[in-house]
Symmetry: C2
Subunit: 219 residues, 2 copies
DNA sequence: CGCCCACTATACAGATCGGTATACCCTGGA
DNA sequence: TCCAGGGTATACCGATCTGTATAGTGGGCG
């Protein structure tokens, strides 16, 4: 449905884009004990590098220099560690984005492109097997799994971010533009992770700039 | 490196795009015994729905109505089933694409857009948790794993396909266009799987058409 | 002092992992 | 008639999985 090119479709009732919810957890996880932080850091690295199901709690505990007793005292279950892994990574990404994002100094278009620059830097630093949310989604089949909400929430937040930023470029086409920017960004994430294209984020950035340049005037 | 917008960069030595290699396996797997086919079909469904590491051979054998003896007589190892899963799915996708693709009747641009149409149909039929290759890549850490070659080979094949199709639209910019089309296609694949956008392939198709329309004249 | 908290160390339970072994059944063709 | 191949059924192997149990250590604090 709605494959026809419905040109604009203004936001029906809500006057502005919804303010994105703040991350549910502290990016630094200062709420955790030192051993618990070591567990989460170790588990996050292993989950991302090898996959969630391929990593057992024994390995996590051993690599973190912690006994399984401590691990289960702090987290209660592996499932909980998985959720914390995704939620913390999400919180850190949002903090990283906020730090690489000077809203006052940039034009509306540059504010969009800054997201792609931040992603490129993020992926270069956390070098990569692609998006941890997408990868986790591939391993979690049950939608009732508590990690599912984190995954979909992260993607929804990104979509709302792009839509909100697009409103400053072209208010009428913000929803459509936001979705297209989201598609470009996800495409860069996955192609970067698969190492199939050189400089995927640079390419996505150029395509986004191209898209925005046409959206500002016509469309 | 090379983040500067190097405009065109013509193919250095090779006169034309490389002819894509044919799939290594028969899409129908007529080479397998009936029980082996049941094993592969069952394993493929479970691997895709639940993830590779989350599915054991006992479950595969039970769901296929086959004993583990038969399973190991036919395949020898779980790893081999995984490789066959990915290779067969790849072969079927290429056959599906060839069937939904009348090269004589379509214009160069339409031939590109037909790929996005085929992907939309494919994903609607094999409804979705995204790209099986990307999902498998998330679970396989060792690049020496035999499935790795299947995954990268499939993505490389798609990139070459887009590049080859782009040559008929704009020979000078074929390489660049092919990469951008690849990025759009991967973006649609992942956003479709995550259910974050409505009609991701329709959107990618529109963006591709937009990109091609500008590439045919200028750029 | 006494108590709690974070942590270590070791052992084990119950289930499932990939993979193997023995033994038997059924059908088609030489 | 014989026999090989594809298949069934069941039991088992060692390893690993998530999760729990018992016992003990050291430091901060009221």
């Amino acid at each position: 449905m709605r494959t026809t090119p419905t040109p604009v479709q203004p936001t029906p009732a809500a006057p502005a884009a919804p303010a994105p919810a703040p991350p549910a957890v502290d990016p630094d996880r200062a709420d955790l004990t030192p051993a618990a932080r070591r567990v989460l850091e170790t588990a996050s690295r292993l989950f991302y590098e090898r996959g969630i199901h391929a990593v057992g709690v024994d390995l996590i505990a051993a690599d973190a220099g912690v006994t399984k007793k401590t691990l289960y005292d702090r987290f209660g279950s592996k499932e909980r560690i998985v959720v914390d892994y995704l939620a913390t990574r999400d919180a850190r990404w949002r903090a990283f984005l906020a730090a690489h994002h000077d809203p006052a100094a940039l034009s509306p278009v540059d504010r969009v492109l800054a997201v792609f620059d931040a992603s490129r830097e993020w992926m270069a630093a956390h070098s990569g097997k692609g998006c941890s949310m997408v990868n986790a989604h591939a391993e979690i089949s049950d939608p009732a799994h508590p990690a599912y909400a984190v995954i979909t929430g992260q993607k929804q937040w990104m979509l709302e971010l792009f839509t909100r930023l697009a409103e400053n470029v072209s208010p009428d086409a913000a929803r459509e533009l936001g979705r297209s920017l989201m598609l470009l960004h996800e495409g860069a994430l996955v192609t970067d992770g698969l190492d199939v294209l050189p400089d995927a984020f640079g390419r996505a950035r150029r395509l986004a700039a191209f898209l925005l340049s046409t959206a500002r005037q016509a469309r």
